[in-house]
């Protein structure tokens, strides 16, 4: 499979990828390296993993990272309640102690968290480590081990080695810089806001019913908004929401009713300051330019 076919396949599944991104993903899949995606929120980093899982017809296993994430909630944990019950039941029936220990530290009592889950699949899943930059540095160290060997050691059970290598995708919003060691192990791609043509293609593939002229207007306004000085620039997902809202309200021309249009901007502008930064006049100027 060449990277062009991958790009086309993604497009057929509704994800329009840039050349950079398609090539990085192609390499990640063929040479089996994790892929690190960085970029602003809402440019489709997480969606790429979902689409890839759909494309390969495999499971998407997702680990949302946060500050304080530890091995127990990322890799595995024993099911203590069941263990305690089993111990109690065994003592009452008078079974010897050694057997109990063997039994309660068996697979049956193991709660697999996303990372362990991912390496125990028969068919290589897509493992999405979302917002790695939020997890703390100690967790990054765990990840390094997992990403280089794809194995997990559980003291009571032994080492579990991956049956198939998962396709690993890491995303980061840049709340803090990731360690160089982690970066070095990954392929990298920076996902930017799509350019006009790409965004039109995205809109067309998600909302095929919209008129071409309206699409041009929608994309034009969103692209212009991103050039304004906003706290939170509207992402692709917001653009699609907005398009859905406009279609739902039956608006055929953005310039037709500025007041109604202003009300729909809630889909794009998500903070009070941003709402205030785009009053009716600015909105009309943007629409006027896009038309």
């Amino acid at each position: 499979m060449s990277w062009k076919t991958l790009k086309d396949d993604l497009a057929n599944h509704g994800y329009v990828a840039s050349d950079d991104l398609a090539m990085a993903l192609h390499l990640a899949v063929t040479i089996g390296k994790p892929l690190l995606l960085e970029g602003a929120a809402g440019v489709g980093k997480t969606q790429l993993a979902k689409t890839l899982a759909e494309l390969f017809d495999t499971r998407l296993i997702r680990l949302q990272c946060y500050e304080g994430l530890d091995a127990a909630s990322a890799i595995y944990e024993w099911n203590y309640q069941r263990q305690l019950l089993a111990i109690r039941a065994a003592t009452e029936s008078g079974a010897p102690g050694e057997n109990i220990e063997d039994r309660i530290f068996s697979e049956k009592y193991l709660l697999a968290r996303p990372l362990l889950e991912a390496i125990r699949q028969d068919k290589a899943p897509v493992l999405l480590l979302d917002e790695v930059d939020r997890a703390d540095e100690e967790f990054e160290a765990y990840l390094l081990e997992l990403l280089s060997d794809f194995q997990v050691t559980i003291p009571e059970l032994g080492t579990i080695t991956a049956q198939t290598r998962p396709h690993v995708i890491l995303t980061s919003n840049g709340t803090r810089d990731l360690s160089d060691a982690l970066r070095r192990r990954c392929l990298y791609s920076y996902v930017d806001y799509p350019d006009r043509a790409t965004e039109l293609a995205i809109l067309a593939s998600h909302k095929p019913g919209l008129e071409a002229r309206l699409c041009e207007q929608i994309v034009g306004v969103v692209q212009a908004l991103r050039r304004e000085d906003l706290e939170k620039k509207p992402g692709v997902a917001e653009m699609l929401d907005w398009a859905a809202a406009i279609a739902g309200l039956g608006i055929n021309d953005l310039a037709a009713d500025p007041v109604e249009l202003q009300a729909t901007l809630v889909c794009l502008l998500k903070t009070q300051a941003d709402r205030a930064a785009v009053p009716l006049e600015v909105q009309q100027r943007l629409v006027g330019k896009a038309a």
Binding site: W3, A24, G68, T91, G97, T175, L187
Partner: protein, 392 residues
């Protein structure tokens, strides 16, 4: 567009190694492992198509947004031309080396007790002026010291006071709670994993209750002190302050900033005070000269930040914000520093003056990136920082 001609006997591997060296020269992190991955990547694509090779190598070698943007030019300059080598000069040191050596040195600053060249500032309430031997007056004299502008502080006792305040601040900053939990004898949460393990020995009854809590994690401090011309009058007290910070904790690092950035932590730790002063004055060749805050922050980010700034670091900047670099540079570099997850505290001696507005363009550019912007013109104002810093 001309394609670079390589010697015929050079293999692909050698050329690739050359390319990696070229990337390294231009500041990208490309090592052995990247070379191997790059060769593997060439196997996965059509290596005769220049665009494909470019895209593939880009995803292998660019490890961050910066590298990602710079890559295309670097690629062109290696494979598609000859001659053009380094895009970016290694640093600004070459330009600075030619600057004349400034005459004033830290030794003068530290040794002159009468405050030669230090303008005398009357105390706020005039009590410092009254001479007397009674205990009450002595006490109020200390009071006055703490409230008077730091420019007037010159005696060893006053400097010792500054050092003590600094130690106190360093202590208050040091411990910050971690969010992860560790096993502990007392704690709010039960540690089920260990309870289950131990209860096996008691036939399944959880006899021992083991607990987990959030351990304290040390915070480390990096202090950057501006000793340019406009800050000269404060430099002695701030040096004492740095000394206090550095001596309170072995992880603290201190830097001086003038036209260059100088690391002085080791010199400040020197137990032999005279030798410490000697070392400081050797390092401070630009002391009292112009300021290049932006360029120095950049140097700090490039050189030191990677190793010493993490999410548990507080970066203290002592400066008045008068800068000869363009203000965008300060803003950009502070933003870059913040991305490492640290807290940035800016102590500005001018802020304590009534009617002060951060109009210095550098200061204005820095403001949005600061976690705390505070006055530092009296010892009291330094001591008042403690509760604020504890909250961070």
């Amino acid at each position: 567009m001309r394609v670079t001609r390589f010697p015929d006997r050079q293999t692909i591997t050698e050329r690739m190694a050359g390319f990696m060296a070229h990337l390294r020269l231009n500041g990208l992190d490309a090592g052995m492992a990247q070379g191997e991955t790059a060769l593997a990547a060439l196997g996965a694509i059509d290596a005769t198509d220049r665009e494909q090779v470019r895209l593939a190598l880009k995803s292998v070698c660019a490890h961050g947004a910066e590298g990602f943007r710079a890559f295309d030019d670097l690629f062109d300059s290696y494979w598609l031309s000859h001659g053009r080598r380094r895009e970016r000069s290694a640093g600004m040191h070459d330009a600075e080396r030619r600057l004349p050596r400034a005459t004033s040195s830290i030794r003068e600053m530290m040794e002159s007790r009468t405050g030669g060249g230090v303008p005398h500032v009357p105390d706020a309430d005039g009590e410092g002026e009254s001479e007397g031997d009674t205990g009450r007056l002595l006490a109020s004299r200390i009071e006055a010291v703490r409230r008077s502008d730091l420019r007037g502080l010159t005696t060893p006792e006053e400097l010792a006071e500054a050092e003590a305040v600094a130690r106190q601040i360093a202590r208050s900053l040091r411990d910050r709670r971690s969010r992860r939990r560790k096993a502990a004898r007392r704690g709010a949460l039960l540690d089920l994993r260990r309870i289950a393990r131990r209860s096996v020995a008691h036939g399944g009854d959880p006899v021992e209750l083991l607990r987990r809590r959030r351990p304290d994690r040390p915070v480390n401090i990096v202090a950057i002190c501006d000793v340019s011309g406009s800050m000269t009058v404060y430099a002695r007290v701030f040096l004492a302050f740095l000394q206090g910070l550095v001596s309170a904790d072995s992880r603290t690092d201190a830097f001086l900033l003038h036209t260059r950035l100088v690391r002085i932590s080791d010199a400040l730790r020197d137990s032999d005070t005279l030798r410490a002063v000697e070392r400081l004055s050797l390092m401070a060749t630009g002391f009292g000269g112009g300021t290049k805050i932006g360029a120095n922050l950049k140097a700090f980010n490039d050189q030191y930040a990677r190793g010493m700034v993490t999410g548990r670091t507080v970066v203290l900047i002592l400066s008045d914000g008068y800068d000869t670099d363009p203000p965008e540079l300060i803003g950009g570099e502070l933003a870059r520093l913040k991305r490492r997850g640290c807290k940035v505290v800016w102590l500005n001696p001018l802020k304590g003056w009534s009617g002060y507005e951060p109009v210095a363009r550098g200061m204005a550019a820095a403001l949005p990136h600061l976690d705390l912007f505070a006055a530092a013109n009296t010892l009291d104002s330094l001591a008042a920082l403690e509760p604020h810093l504890q909250k961070m």
